[in-house]
């Protein structure tokens, strides 16, 4: 086995997998991967590597599985030093971890609440989602990136979800660039970055997936 064999158990449209792929790209790391069929049947490797949750992403480094996307990004940053993704000072790191934890707890589920509902529930879900983004807008402030002057860990953690935003906007009937203009500008800025541009899926693919999920859940 070569010195650093990286293998990613992946799902192209998952915002959690997207973060890992961007982190790997930022570090200039070569890796192999396999796309998991989350609806048809999970691979034996996934079941063996992540027996508790059977979820992607899983990064196998020389055969050892690292689980949970934020964990994986920390691991990548701690194992492959250059360029650093997290801030150097411990307080800056604690702020980055705090907002990553907030993003993990709120953004994906907040968006899911939008596509899973209709009528009054949808209106509520939309407002709650906008509130979540407004809090992140507060964290961004007047900086170019959530990481500060440079694109970094926290930007990587959030940008993957942005491929799902157009779907939320369409279903919820709102525009992020109107409700949270700084976040809108931040998304455009991040998309100018090669690692992000090459990794983000096309929004219409997410739309198709969500359409399928809504049918499965009997919403449309």
């Amino acid at each position: 086995m070569s010195k650093d064999e990286l293998f990613l158990l992946d799902f192209g449209l998952s915002p959690f997998c997207i973060r890992v792929r961007i982190a790997l790209a930022e570090k200039g790391l070569q890796y192999k991967g396999q796309e998991e069929d989350l609806f048809g049947g999970k691979s034996e490797l996934l079941q063996k590597s992540n027996p508790i949750y059977e979820k992607v992403p899983v990064l196998l480094h020389n055969g050892k599985p690292i689980l949970e996307s934020t964990n994986i990004v920390y691991y990548i940053d701690e194992t492959f030093a250059s360029p650093p993704l997290l801030p150097a000072c411990s307080y800056g790191r604690s702020r980055a971890r705090f907002w990553a934890d907030f993003i993990d707890k709120k953004v994906f589920d907040g968006g899911a609440a939008i596509w899973r509902s209709k009528g009054d529930e949808l209106e509520l879900a939309k407002n709650e989602f906008i509130d979540i983004l407004k809090k992140l807008e507060g964290a961004l402030g007047d900086k170019d990136y959530l990481g500060g002057e440079k694109f970094g860990f926290l930007d990587i953690v959030l940008i993957g979800s942005s491929s799902w935003f157009p779907t939320y906007e369409r279903i919820g009937g709102f525009k992020i660039e109107d409700e949270c203009p700084k976040i809108g500008a931040w998304i455009k800025r991040c998309k100018g970055r090669e690692s992000v541009a090459k990794t983000l899926p096309e929004p219409h693919k997410v739309c198709e997936l969500v359409g399928m999920l809504r049918k499965m859940h009997g919403i449309e």
């Binding site: 508790i52 480094h61 689980l67 920390y74 691991y75 701690e78 411990s90 604690s94 971890r97 705090f98």
Partner: protein
């Protein structure tokens, strides 16, 4: 500049206790601000406007929130008695298991506590399944951290105190020594550690608090039973 440390916590919060333990292990002096969660202080709301929760550690005026993240901050800032492993893979596993404890173990044990009858039996099976993973993790080790108490021991620490309290209230053995010998031993070793022992909240107060928390669920069950009885009469 002299280090100024303040910890906003409640008397019983298991999350706050992680931070209390970590500060003690590191030998750090700090000021405690006890919060009443029904009447949160302006300072707490200012330091944690996003979640408005305890614990919050304030270091030289800068707030750090979320107990597991506070542990990481303490460990990175004060290098004595390291809590997290140095190796990135072992660190990643510790973080994973800590989250498993919060996301799966604690809710499953809580379900046992608030349910009865068939529902409780199912909850016990689920909780036991989760605890088996922890039993496996302890193989060949005294603590989750190895020879000494570490991050994962502090993350799971609530079990060493709360489980016996919940067991007493529901009159049920969740962590049976015959089924979970390593976990039982860990609970004793962790509880009796001189650093940890001093920090436990008063047991009688905890029993009183959790009995009160269980009441609404018992009342709900009783009302359901009464309704079912009157429907079938």
């Amino acid at each position: 500049m002299a280090e100024e440390l303040k910890l906003f916590r409640t008397w019983s919060s298991r999350y706050s206790l992680r931070v209390v333990n970590a500060l003690k292990i590191k030998g750090l002096e700090y000021e405690t601000i006890l919060e009443d969660l029904q009447n949160k202080s302006a300072s707490l709301l200012e330091y944690n406007p996003t979640h408005k929760k305890v614990p919050v550690l304030v270091h030289n005026g800068k707030p750090i929130c979320e107990s597991l993240l506070i542990l990481e901050y303490i460990d990175e800032t004060w290098k004595q008695h390291p809590l997290l492993p140095q190796d990135p893979y072992l660190k990643a596993m510790a973080r994973f298991w800590a989250k498993f404890g919060d996301d799966k173990v604690l809710p499953s044990i809580w379900s046992v506590f608030i349910s009865q009858g068939q529902e409780q039996e199912e909850a016990i099976a689920l909780a036991a399944g989760n605890l088996k993973f922890l039993e496996e993790l302890l193989k060949g080790k005294k603590f989750f951290g190895g020879e000494t108490i570490g991050y994962l021991d502090l993350a799971f620490g609530w079990m060493a105190n709360l489980i016996s309290i919940l067991e007493e209230i529901v009159d049920l053995k969740l962590v049976d020594r015959k089924i979970f010998p390593l976990l039982s031993e860990w609970m004793n070793s962790f509880s009796d550690d001189p650093v940890i022992k001093e920090c436990w909240p008063p047991r009688n107060k905890m029993v009183e608090k959790f009995k009160a928390m269980r009441e609404p669920y018992l009342k709900e069950l009783h009302e359901t039973e009464v309704m079912q009885f009157s429907l079938s009469s």
